[in-house]
């Protein structure tokens, strides 16, 4: 309301005729710019502290365990099911074209290039993004972050940097793990309708796969991990007072992280296409 009045007075002072709707748009645009600057400052602080002295290695290892090890079950189930579904859905079309021997390599390339990284990142955006948003949000609300600052500990260095680095490292590893299980799921599905040995399936699968398929996928997984952790930590770290804000932080962290994963994927695909 105060901002609304300020914009209106500013316009009046310079004889600019603004309707109420224009004033509201100006206020929300200003808020958007302030938020953007806030995000920029946060990311700058994270990067500056990443390379500063006194890295919290124990906390980093703890986060690697939390993010990597504790996501294995979820990623295993997802990976196998994606492989199964891809194979079961592609098979009839390939049979129609008499190209059923292309099935393993087609499934593998789809998994490595796109399905593995994106599905893993989206699952992790839900699991890890929300947990970071909620955890840091509740730490903010219950003054634990303030207590850290008073103890002469930089909360960005202790809480945010290890989470961002661990997520950036763990998402590519989880992606590779999901790819492997997806290929296994593909082999299982291929055996439902046909009969193919694991060795033959793998030989056919990797016949057409090259390093150029794998490397961009791994690189974009790094960025997916970084984006998920940065969004989760930012939303939690900037939660306002009150328990409601913890829920809001967790929720917006998931939504924003998922959207950004898709957005980063779009950019990555465009760049890979140029190579």
């Amino acid at each position: 309301m105060q901002q609304y009045k300020r914009v209106k007075n500013y316009a009046r002072g310079r004889s600019i005729a603004l309707t109420d709707t224009s004033v509201e748009h100006t206020v929300s645009f200003k808020k958007f710019l302030v938020n953007l600057a806030d995000v920029f400052l946060f990311v700058t602080q994270v990067f500056r502290n990443t390379f500063a002295r006194g890295f919290e290695f124990r906390e980093f290892l703890k986060q690697c365990f939390q993010i990597g090890n504790k996501s294995l079950g979820l990623i295993s189930i997802t990976g196998i099911i994606i492989g199964l579904v891809l194979t079961i859905q592609s098979r009839p079309v390939l049979v129609d074209f008499g190209a059923v021997n292309m099935l393993p390599s087609m499934v593998t390339i789809s998994l490595i290039r796109e399905m593995g990284p994106v599905i893993t990142a989206l699952i992790c955006a839900g699991k890890i993004g929300s947990s970071m948003g909620a955890e840091l949000g509740s730490m903010r609300v219950t003054e634990q972050i303030d207590a850290m600052e008073v103890s002469s500990t930089n909360p960005i260095k202790f809480l945010v940097v290890p989470r961002v680095l661990a997520c950036t490292l763990m998402i590519p590893l989880l992606t590779l793990y999901a790819d492997a299980l997806g290929i296994f799921g593909g082999w299982l599905a291929a055996n439902i309708k046909g009969d193919i040995s694991a060795v033959l399936f793998l030989t056919q699968a990797f016949r057409d796969v090259e390093f150029i398929d794998l490397i961009p996928a791994v690189i974009k997984s790094f960025f997916f991990g970084m984006v998920i952790a940065l969004v989760g930590c930012y939303k939690g770290y900037h939660a306002s007072a009150g328990t409601e804000s913890v829920g809001v932080a967790a929720n917006t962290a998931v939504v924003m992280a998922s959207l950004l994963v898709i957005f980063v994927d779009l950019i990555a695909v465009q760049i890979t296409d140029l190579l």
């Binding site: 105060q2 003054e143 634990q144 303030d146 207590a147 008073v150 002469s152």
Partner: protein
Amino acid sequence: MKKETPNTESVVAIRNLKKGFGPKEVLKDVSLDLKKQENLVVLGKSGTGKSVLIKCIVRLLRADAGEISVFGEEINGLDKPALDDIRKRIGFLFQSAALYDSMTVRENLEFPLRRIRKGLSEQEIDQKVHDALENVGLVEAIDKMPSELSGGMRKRIGLARTIIVDPEIILYDEPTTGLDPVTSNEISILINEIQQKYKASSIIITHDMECVRTVADRIIMLKEGAVYKEGSFKEFQGGDDDYINSFFKPQNTELNKN
């Protein structure tokens, strides 16, 4: 326990402090001094900016105007390393105790110790953790998680975490709020013991008049963002000011059942 007379040297000096949030001006003009080894109680209704005041002292919040001098250093003009040096000499007990949920009691106590008192051996750290817990009477809770503790125990552990680094100034944000009278009294006695044992100067924010009676060397009352009255417990009692009496006299006498 016989209290020592506070020193006249100021460890915290605040002059014309102003702090607002958006259109709301919480602190309009606050000036106060905290003397060495003194227990200064800040009283006032909710929303008068008492917590904001002590958060400004450790610069968890930045003042809009005015001067805050801690150990002779103007806190608002300090860079990060200098601010950290000052913060290492100050203990802060948060209203919610602010124990780290993901750490055990031992890890909670070790956290500030490892960061502020660098260079201590593992044996010394163990000893200090044990001593701090013994001071608050909760040695048996050493391996518990904060979620396993009651409200009073959390406050005590919070207090142990505050005193473990031997602070020269302790800021208490409503140390007895939400506790039963027996536990409140124990915490108040503990505050006095800590003052005597560690020779610390303290600012205590509270609404609990029993706590005020037990711990206060001097009281400052805030009203509408400014200092309303300053004096000892005796000076506050028995006057004819309705606002002050609303704190010091029993309320709702006509509604009392007995």
